[in-house]
Symmetry: C2
Subunit: 111 residues, 2 copies
């Protein structure tokens, strides 16, 4: 008996305004986690993960900041970024005019 | 020394017409592979993988067909589908009017 096929849409049920960023896990399997994140103008603290992170912007926009070189990266629709484990980074800002929808994939660690 | 941050855009450099589907690997790591596929009206043969497959349509549309129950699933922008290892399926058709851009994640096998 095979496991069932699952499906959904990342651009549906996107809240217009959130107190905190919204995290929805789509897949959680050994070594891999797929999550949708919705930000409405949010920023994050500095973070550094033990897993690799691959992010994609589906709607809206977000600005990433990396340490120690202070590099900035603005992501718009279709833009992806691979953040290897151990790279210190933060989301500096997200679109203030519309919700930003991220697809985030964690892999390669204890994900 | 940490590995470098990499980035790109899935919606840039999308060919308008292709003889064969175009496969571009973005990440290839132990247990995880992230690939962009561009289809311009293509269909595929029946396939059955030893890895799980997670697909997302970023642009265009595609119709998946599953065996043995003959279930059909039409995917448009933002739609995702998790196809567990061993589930027999094919791409029955893709958008004839515009290129279809897929993000495909293989995981959980010998990816």
């Amino acid at each position: 008996m095979s496991r069932p096929v699952a499906s959904g849409n990342l651009l549906l049920d996107v809240p217009a305004r959130l107190a905190d960023e919204q995290f929805t896990d789509l897949i959680s399997a050994p070594g891999v986690r797929i999550t949708r994140i919705v930000s409405t103008g949010h920023a994050t603290d500095w973070q550094q993960a033990e897993e690799d992170e691959w992010v994609l912007v589906l709607q809206g926009s977000g600005t990433l900041r990396f340490a120690p070189d202070d590099r900035q990266l603005v992501l718009v629709q279709g833009d992806w970024c691979h953040i290897p484990a151990g790279v210190r980074h933060r989301v500096e800002e997200t679109d203030a005019r519309q919700p930003t929808v991220w697809l985030v994939l964690h892999f390669g660690g204890g994900a």
